[in-house]
């Protein structure tokens, strides 16, 4: 088929389209879908017994704020990355809260190691974090993927990576409301580890989760 003919066909078939809302508006819509789910799971599992004490604890609040900020920044970056031609800084933005969050947890872990104690007492098996974060993150992940699939897969790996990070970081944020495990090394290995693992798995399937899709009306003619 000649390109000139293709141009004619596309122009002949063009129909009005509804433009995508801005990424911040879509992020709010994502939060409106995701936060009730997180609240529902926390309610179903039952908040930890020391929750009132924890909310008054500075470091716990700071870590939770960073987890939430990472989720928001990653969600915004995923939505921006699914729109062609957006500035690069939008994709770098989540690295700030993510880096700070990791730094706080790593510093806490180093302190606990320096303070001494056998590794076996510092790091215990806590497999429940992975399914917990996965179940908390499933609705935010589905919602985010539905949102970004309205965009264009110009950076599928970055987009899906940030989408998964947004969902799992939000899951981690919710997890700490009912899972009483605050030791930095445990948080680093099991909770942050689960976030990282789930994110990497999603990136691996990026091309399937976010492929190019042609307008069906163009196909059916």
């Amino acid at each position: 088929m000649r390109t000139e003919d293709l141009v004619g066909s596309l122009a002949g078939e063009v129909r009005p389209v509804r433009r995508l809302s801005s990424p911040p508006v879509r992020l709010l819509a994502w939060l409106a879908l995701s936060l009730p789910w997180i609240a529902l799971v926390v309610w179903y599992r039952g908040p930890r017994t020391d929750i009132a004490l924890k909310i008054g604890e500075g470091i716990w609040l700071f870590e939770q704020s960073l987890a939430l900020m990472t989720a928001l920044a990653a969600g915004l970056a995923a939505l921006c990355a699914s729109i062609p031609g957006r500035p690069v800084w939008e994709r770098v933005l989540p690295l700030l809260p993510l880096g700070l969050w990791l730094a706080i947890i790593v510093v806490g872990s180093i302190r606990s190691v320096v303070a001494g104690g056998a590794w076996s007492s510092l790091v215990q098996v806590d497999w429940v974090c992975l399914p917990n974060i996965a179940s908390l993150g499933v609705v935010p992940a589905i919602a985010m993927i539905a949102f970004i699939r309205r965009g264009a897969p110009v950076s599928p790996y970055t987009t899906i990576g940030y989408a998964a990070l947004a969902a799992t970081a939000l899951g981690e944020f919710g997890l700490r409301f009912f899972h009483a495990q605050d030791a930095s090394l445990m948080v680093l290995v099991w909770q942050i580890g689960s976030v990282a693992l789930l994110t990497v798995i999603c990136i691996f399937f990026a091309r399937y989760l976010f492929p190019w899709r042609i307008d069906v009306r163009t196909v059916s003619g």
């Binding site: 088929m1 066909s9 122009a11 433009r19 031609g85 110009v154 163009t218």
Partner: protein
């Protein structure tokens, strides 16, 4: 990526195209085709025709035209689509080259004459060409890739950005229309 003096108007043309203005859309596409063609020729895409890349970009642009924000410049938006489709094409070429075996003589499928008949068979090639040309764009592209170029469904899906099921639908409808047009 530069189009010369038409930068100012591309944004408004695209905005009009989003509102369903076919002539503005045609003007826009005709303006960007030479740019895309020049860019495609400047990039390495192996044995794949630069025109295939141009057409891929046009189809991709068409399918995601709702993502364009008129308050932002048009060309960076188009460039991002071009770069992605270029990478897709390069990857496809490399993957294909790894699995290809070149041969001087094509092997016979069966020894019988009828299975190795190279002359044109029955039918009117001109009539077939005009029947294909009259198909809608999506169906025509599907017929060309799957029936004429004999690509697999997966390859055709990668090239067009259409899903495999959409390609099946398009080729089925295309074949049905062709049969009607040819009176078969």
């Amino acid at each position: 990526m530069e189009t010369g003096t038409e930068n100012v108007s591309l944004e408004s043309l695209m905005q009009a195209a989003q509102a369903g203005d076919g002539s503005a859309y045609e003007h826009l596409l005709r303006s960007v085709v030479p740019v895309l063609r020049r860019q495609a020729r400047a990039k390495w895409i192996g044995s794949i025709e630069p025109e295939d890349l141009v057409q891929d970009v046009l189809l991709s642009l068409h399918s995601v035209r709702h993502t364009y924000d008129p308050s932002r410049p048009f060309l960076p938006w188009l460039s991002a689509i071009f770069r992605r489709r270029l990478v897709d094409l390069q990857r496809r070429h490399i993957r294909k080259a790894k699995n290809e075996v070149t041969t001087d003589t094509l092997p016979e499928t069966f020894s019988g004459d009828e299975t190795n008949w190279l002359e044109d068979g029955q039918g009117d090639p001109d009539l077939l060409k005009s029947a294909i040309a009259s198909l809608p764009a999506g169906q025509r592209r599907a017929i060309e890739l799957l029936k004429i170029q004999e690509l697999s469904l997966k390859e055709a899906a990668e090239r067009t950005g259409m899903s495999i099921s959409a390609l099946k639908v398009a080729v089925h409808r295309g074949m049905k229309s062709l049969k009607q047009a040819l009176g078969a």
